[in-house]
């Protein structure tokens, strides 16, 4: 598969953890060459992270596992080479932005790896200066890494690995915490490294929109940990339907759009699948010009869920907040949310989104202003009373596991038991949630032992147990695969239909476009927009200011409109796009 000398050679590799009887990775065969940018994707629990940890020797050096087959990375066998020695060759950025920090201050964190590799002082300084410029965190150079936002921490982690200048760099979901523009910057940086330094980069990622046009090659893993597809993006996405439906991987929106048109009209597709927005726009223009596709100007956007016009579930009036004597994080926030709405809160890293929702559940008190949630004035309400009606799902699921880590069952039952329900009701409710959240077979497992995606599912199930009137989710799709995201969002839609109001913080603009009935854009503590997502995605300057990016389909539609094609406004999803065209 590789175009040059292989830096990584893997033959018949299988990995089985000590406490399990089934292999996480199954008979993997691949070669990765110098200067390749390889994207690895696949459903939750398919062994993506395991593959990353095998490459730098963490498995089996630190994490015991049985490895069969052959593996060679930069001429070394990671099975018999310690991780600190492998670190000269392979740099690894993990998912958890906080846990992988090794020092207290930003410049020290970036310098830590190269210091261990005995890089001379002057060179160290040069690398740190350069990387601080790249990640644009120079002003925090001497600050504590623990005072940075999640996204900023992850940028520091990436810089700390880049500073070691390894031959192979592995990024395990590196942008899970970054805003869309931040993600794009990271991906472009990775591409630059590949182009200019001839580094080999392996990126494990499930958000494919930005990365696919930059990747040389894509490897798709199956749930059983074997390779389903391995090839150039164009080759791999010939199997779009199978990847999306069979393997649960979310397709890039451009590819999804093409696949859906292909479904209706197979002969429209040429050999090369359009992968970029520009290519897709050009492809659409050709189809329209050749009259293979007709545009419907008047399409109806149906509101399937009725939203109360009178009853407010949340009322926020001129809320200000700062941590201690620090700078103001929220600067006069005011908004109302109607009962039954699904409100998406979006904004750049550090814009105050999490701080705002923590005010809504009473975890933080505003320094000025007033908040009413479910009719309760939060100034005078008890936190436990608020929690009974408004549930908050934390950004990092393990932050809310409190039932002594006994089992998934106990964790979901915790809220019900503390609320005093009898065990018969608890069992009935927990069984229902386990069923709906597809957690069968995991009931007795400690929640801390689950994969990232499963942990998120359990954290949501926990907070649904008491049937809250308002459910607040902080980055609900973080670390989840497409199938789980779809299942979760459908569940939220069901809840919304039954009257539950939902607030979600998200950097995933496709998700916002698909599911939110209203969107609030927060930028540096100020509400910059509150309204229909369709209107927001018509304002590219505002999105740019808030480090956000419209879904690719919006850009394609705008490009077509600017080229004189009579496309209706308000198309922000693939489904809406398909409704606006007729394939002849």
């Amino acid at each position: 598969m590789s175009s040059s000398i292989p830096l990584i050679s893997i033959h018949n590799l299988s990995v089985t953890y000590e406490d399990t009887d089934h292999a996480v990775l199954n008979n993997i065969n691949l070669e990765i060459g110098e200067g390749e940018l390889v994207l690895v994707c696949g459903p939750t629990g398919c062994g993506k992270s395991t593959l990353a940890q095998v490459l730098n020797g963490l498995i089996p050096y630190t994490l015991p596992a049985t490895i069969t087959g052959e593996i060679e990375v930069c001429g070394k066998d990671p099975r018999v080479t310690t991780t600190p020695i492998m670190a000269r060759e392979v740099g690894l950025v993990f998912q958890d932005p906080e846990g992988q920090l090794c020092t207290l201050f930003l410049e020290d964190e970036i310098a830590f790896g190269p210091e261990n590799l005995m890089v001379p002082h002057d060179e160290l300084k040069k690398r740190v200066d350069h990387l601080l410029d790249i990640i644009a965190l120079n002003k925090f150079r001497y600050g504590s890494v623990f005072e940075l936002s999640g996204g900023q921490k992850q940028k520091v982690n990436i810089a700390s690995v880049l500073a070691m200048q390894p031959k192979v760099m592995v990024f395990d979901m590196p942008t899970a915490n970054l805003d869309p523009i931040g993600s794009m910057e990271v991906f472009k940086l990775i591409r630059k490294l590949v182009n200019e330094e001839e580094s080999t980069c392996i990126v494990i990622e499930n958000r494919l929109d930005e990365l696919v046009p930059l990747a040389d090659r894509i490897i798709v893993l199956t749930q059983e940990g074997s390779i389903a597809f391995d090839g150039t993006p164009s080759e791999v996405f010939q199997h779009s339907q199978e990847i999306m439906d069979g393997l649960g991987v979310e397709l890039p929106q451009v590819v999804e759009l093409v696949a859906r048109i292909k479904e209706k009209f197979p002969s429209t597709l040429e050999k090369e699948i359009p992968l970029t927005i520009d290519d897709a726009t050009q492809w659409m223009r050709t189809l329209i010009d050749k009259r293979k596709v007709e545009i419907f100007k008047d399409i109806k956007f149906e509101q399937e869920i009725s939203i109360s016009q009178n009853e407010n579930i949340v009322e926020v009036k001129d809320v200000h907040f700062s941590y201690g004597k620090g700078p103001e994080i929220l600067k006069g926030i005011s908004f109302d949310m109607k009962k039954g709405e699904m409100l998406a809160i979006v904004g750049n890293n550090g814009s105050g989104k999490t701080t705002l929702v923590k005010q809504l559940v009473g975890l933080l008190k505003p320094t000025a202003g007033a908040i009413k949630v479910c009719g309760m004035d939060l100034k005078t309400s008890n936190l436990v009373d608020i929690a009974a009606r408004a549930s908050y799902v934390f950004q990092y699921p393990e932050h809310q596991f409190v039932a002594q880590g006994q089992s998934v069952y106990d964790e979901i039952a915790f809220n019900l038991r503390t609320a005093g329900y009898d065990e018969t009701y608890v069992k009935e409710r927990v069984d229902l949630l386990i069923d709906r959240c597809q957690l069968h077979g995991r009931e007795t497992v400690s929640p801390f032992m689950l994969s990232g995606g499963e942990m998120r599912t359990v954290s949501v199930a926990c907070m649904l147990s008491t049937k809250p009137e308002l459910l607040i989710l902080d980055e609900p799709t973080y670390g989840q695969d497409h199938q789980r995201i779809t299942a979760l969002m459908l569940r939220l839609k069901e809840l919304q239909k039954s009257g539950t109001s939902v607030i979600m913080i998200s950097h995933d603009m496709r998700l916002v476009a698909e599911y939110a009935s209203k969107v609030l854009l927060l930028s540096y503590g100020v509400v910059e927009f509150l309204g229909d997502p369709k209107q927001l995605f018509e304002m590219p300057e505002l999105l740019q200011k808030a480090a956000l990016k419209e879904p690719p389909v919006c850009t394609i539609v705008r490009n077509l409109q600017e080229a004189g094609y009579d496309f209706p406004i308000g198309i922000i999803t693939t489904s809406a796009f398909m409704n606006a065209i007729k394939v002849r």
């Binding site: 310690t82 600190p84 559940v361």
Partner: protein, 261 residues
């Protein structure tokens, strides 16, 4: 409370090792001085904290409340000391003057050692301290173990905050009975322990992945340097220790007090 405060001050500018040896000087002085001198030393340390360390009222108040609670516990231990001059009694328990002197002396010593150590932590960048230890010959793996330990304080503090928030949000009301509170406390501690173990594992992965321990030596972005101010400060305190030793041991000015209690 127990972290580097990063407040610009005279003490903060001094090099880490001079300040570390200053803490050792204070620890020697408390054993030379009698209780009344230790109280003067305590006041001196407070003044140093305020004027040379720019430690704010909130931090100092927090530290003093811990130190005074500790001093009270020490003084409480005076009940176990049988003397000749009774001061007061609670039921059958008599508190003697000798108990007060012995426990008071211990309390004063502990307070000074703790206050100077806290002051050291507040005004010293832990990285500079670790780099200094390595420069003085300590193997960097051991020095960094201390550093990672210090690094863990903010992580653990954050973790405890998250768990506390999570418990509140998941409807856990504070139990009024002692038994109930103990069970809740156990739940909290187990959650903290599990989460800490998980975080430790990730940190261990990150340390390995960043080549920690790959070489017997390493380089430093911020190399350790002795500062003129720090060394001058240390010399003054070494002279004070020498003078106090001469006064106490040589001239017997503190006769009857040196290590008497």
């Amino acid at each position: 409370m127990f972290q580097y405060a990063r407040i610009p001050s005279t003490l903060e500018k001094f090099d880490a090792m001079s300040k570390f040896f200053w803490v050792i000087c204070v620890a020697v002085l408390v054993f030379i001085y009698p209780p009344e001198y230790n109280l003067i030393l305590f006041i001196l340390l407070l003044l140093i904290a305020i004027f040379l360390g720019h430690i704010n009222y909130g931090r100092l108040k927090g530290a003093l409340s811990i130190l005074l609670a500790l001093a009270f516990l020490f003084l409480l231990g005076g009940f176990s000391y049988k003397g000749e001059v009774p001061l007061f009694a609670i039921g059958n328990l008599v508190y003697y003057k000798e108990g007060l002197i012995v426990r008071g002396a211990s309390a004063a010593r502990i307070l000074n050692i703790m206050l100077s150590s806290m002051l050291f932590v507040w005004v010293t960048n832990p990285r500079d301290f670790v780099n200094g230890l390595v420069q003085l010959g300590m193997p960097y793996r051991i020095a960094f173990t201390i550093f990672v330990g210090l690094n863990y304080i903010p992580i653990l503090t954050n973790e405890m905050g998250y768990i506390s928030d999570a418990q509140k949000l998941r409807g856990l009301r504070r139990d009024k009975s002692l038994k109930g509170r103990l069970i809740q406390y156990k739940t909290f501690l187990v959650a903290v322990l599990l989460r800490s173990l998980r975080k430790t594992q990730i940190t261990a992965f990150a340390l390995d992945s960043k080549a920690f321990g790959a070489n017997t030596k390493r380089t430093y972005l911020n190399q350790f340097h002795w500062s003129i101010g720090g060394v001058s400060w240390l010399i003054v305190w070494i002279l004070l220790v020498v003078a106090s030793l001469i006064a106490g041991v040589g001239l017997h000015l503190f006769t009857g007090h040196l290590l008497a209690y």
